[in-house]
Symmetry: C2
Subunit: 478 residues, 2 copies
């Protein structure tokens, strides 16, 4: 009746493990449209947690939400040369509507710099109109060849912040401020440590002067670019003629930024925290923080349920996201597996003997530890434990990252590390794109970022041996 759900062990086949987890934890379903997925309630709830965490931080830093049309006229896409080259190959196009062929093709937005640039041009006249600080939550489209649920899909959900400033200094400060907002959110809400830093020119956003990213390590040692922040200079301002009359009575182009994070964060949560039992969710974002399961023989069920319901009501009243599963057609053992797979941080078991002893059993998802705790002040105990689990999951992720961080003095050394041990590898880089290409061709690793705070400075380029212009994190990436 209760079908058994099996998860391929991570060590055996990481990709199969990932698909098993997201399917069995009911996060998604494949859609009938190429490369698209359905975000099922358990998956979408993680996106809602991301939205809450980011949106409150955006508002606290002075940004307002807006919404711009999804359809972008072809002529807009064509205005910024590098932007066209970067995005045009992946665009879906609307060519007909209401039975008629359109005069101009309309692209499904891959990102909104162009239509927002067009709008800024209308909204900005004077220095008094600056800065403009907007964000939108929206669906976007990139028709990529290879897709992977959450990590790379034809349609995905994201937020994109767009700002305009009077000068370079202010725009660059904004770019870094928002990068740091992502760092803070990842660490404190998702319990995922990231490396923040600058992208090399070859990895820049199409149209940006500088791109910054946060890079997170997955359990297979690969990198996920979890968020980006771009300084555009005056490129889009020039393409869309966004000028303002400054205090000195001269017309100047604004400096713009954009920054985004997407539903790939859902995949990132799964791959950064999951284990062979399934998902593991940090309490701060877990839709269900504790699941309650009654145990013991059926004939004693009535004795258990009165107390069970009381404790359930207490936890709920305390603002803890609690779920009670007293269904009788599923065994406790089946439920344990089910909620471990769904990543619920804490499990509470209550049986007849626990009632006699005035205790409950709590089982931590992060460590598997089983605790016997008094029923008195249960909500306080649960709250403290959830906080402890949140911290511990961050510590576990930090330790995993530490154990899978290496350094290499040559391309050969880097390749050897990635083949045998997997992880991120610190190496020097002379600044030439050719050397990056060489690393990629030999090892499939790319320069993830030039970290602001590298653990150490690497003196020579791993490809050409010349002095380093920068120290880089190299890794294979999603």
């Amino acid at each position: 009746m209760a079908e058994e759900k099996r998860i391929t062990p991570m060590a055996q086949d990481f990709s199969a493990w990932y698909i098993d987890v997201i399917k069995n934890a009911d996060l998604m379903d494949y859609a009938p449209v190429r490369g698209c997925i359905i975000f099922k309630p358990a998956g979408y709830a993680l996106w809602e947690a991301v939205q809450r965490g980011l949106d409150s931080r955006f508002k606290a830093t002075g940004h307002e939400n807006a919404y711009f049309p999804m359809l972008i006229p072809e002529s807009f896409i064509m205005k910024e040369k590098e932007h066209v080259e970067g995005f045009a190959p992946e665009l879906p196009w609307v060519t007909e509507a209401a039975g008629e062929k359109l005069e101009e093709r309309l692209a499904l937005r891959p990102t909104s710099e162009t239509i927002i640039g067009w709008s800024f041009q209308k909204w900005i006249q004077s220095y008094r109109d600056l800065p403009v600080l907007v964000n939108q939550w929206a669906n976007v489209f990139r028709w990529e060849k290879r897709t992977l649920p959450f990590l790379r899909t034809s349609e995905f959900l994201w937020q994109e912040g767009h700002t305009a400033h009077a000068d370079e200094k202010e725009a660059r400060e904004e770019t870094i401020r928002m990068l740091n907002v992502y760092v803070d959110f990842m660490r404190n809400d998702l319990a995922i440590p990231v490396w923040e830093g600058q992208k090399t020119p070859s990895e820049r956003f199409a149209g940006a002067l500088d791109t910054y990213s946060i890079e997170a390590m997955m359990k297979d040692g690969k990198a996920v670019q979890a968020g980006t922040s771009h300084y555009m200079g005056t490129k889009f301002a020039e393409a869309f003629n966004i000028q303002f009359l400054d205090r000195d009575q001269t017309l100047k182009f604004v400096h713009t930024t954009s920054w985004g994070a997407s539903t790939r964060l859902i995949g990132c949560i799964v791959m950064a925290h999951g284990d062979d039992k399934g998902l593991r969710l940090p309490p701060r974002i877990a839709p269900v923080q504790i699941v309650m399961i009654p145990v013991g023989p059926a004939k004693l069920r009535e004795k258990v349920m009165a107390r069970f319901d009381t404790l359930h009501a207490q936890l709920k009243a305390a603002g803890i996201r609690v779920k009670a599963d007293a269904r009788e057609e599923y065994s406790p053992g089946w439920k344990y597996n089910e909620y471990e797979m769904r990543g619920v941080p804490l499990r509470l078991e209550l049986g007849p003997r626990d009632i006699d002893n005035n205790v409950v059993i709590l089982v931590r998802r992060d460590t598997g530890e089983k605790l016997t705790v008094p029923q008195d002040n249960l909500a306080d105990k649960v709250r403290a434990l959830l906080e402890e689990i949140q911290q511990n999951m961050l510590n576990q992720a930090l330790q995993f990252r530490q154990e899978h961080s290496f350094e290499a003095g040559s391309v050969a050394a880097l390749g050897e590390i990635l083949d045998k041990q997997f992880g991120f590898v610190l190496g020097g880089w002379c600044g030439e794109a050719g050397c990056e290409d060489q690393v990629k061709a030999a090892t499939k690793a790319t320069a993830r970022c030039i970290p602001f705070h590298p653990p150490k400075q690497m003196p020579t380029c791993i490809a050409c041996g010349k002095p380093s212009a920068a120290t880089v994190w190299y890794a294979r990436a999603y």
Copy 2:
């Protein structure tokens, strides 16, 4: 410097008034794509208030959010005959992607019954899988000929709830439950009274067995259909083969419902509450509930500002959405007009003499009333006033509706009322579509709904004079 913003008087030209208000209050901008608009921050903030109000009510009634792909294969749209006829003429189509022509055209969703039906078929096997209660927040597309900002746009934002049930009774209960959620939200959050009732067959959603709606009266007496709830019977279940094994071991089709409300609610708020000074926002949804403006001569500004800042901090700490506008380049008078136009429910003025008297001046947007109140316990006073304004705005709307509600015994009488006085007209209806057509041709009014609680029963059809099958609210509508 501070340009004057003019609003066409409502009585002179209601349409011009509406456009002036939404432009001057900075709610929207026209987009470069036909029939699309940009939701500017002040407009989008109203949508966020709608989202908060509805989403919490959906969750309290057991629904979860999900997200389904925006692109719908043409073959899906074609599966339900009435659905095709209703929506196909207005669809935009993606025909190319990533440089290649698609084998099957993909529609930009006008609504998601089809793709969700396809998903339900995969998710539902047994009675134990029921009910399924999901909602999504999404953008949708209807390429209509005549558009009007917020009320009818090519792309708009909405929520669409979709549920599947084991039997008709449960599905019908859900349909009415969600209609009542809309009624409650409109009345208590938006301060807009509505008539809830059933649509006549000619006004039904394409594919529904029964459609219910809430109908709100605008300041020009026209109706806005502010939300709908549909009972689909087993139509979509049959089209997408959504069957379940019931307790009695037989396969049965599920009964489905859907219900939606959209960004047209923004237009509805403007037209239901606005006046010749601009927008009027109910405090519960106002992004800014009170604006503080320092007054008096510049040389005494310093004396005022210390207290001004203290009071600002007090209101903020009390959880009141307060904005302080101490800009010196704009005069108090200009600011009064500006925030009245933006619909801020309360204005606080503080000048040197008020400091001496330990008072502030409060001005209500709903009545224009000016109050002198002590500075002590200001937050409590403001909170009470905001609550009073919320109630008063609902009362004003109820009174306006009362004054513009009529009854008619014939089509001629109905036409006469609508030409001279505008509003909703109660009339009898025999149940024949031909009589509805006759009313529409003669008066441009349509049957808005058959209200559940009509003020009175009308005995005869206004068109044919035969006995009534139902009592109907007739009105011209957006």
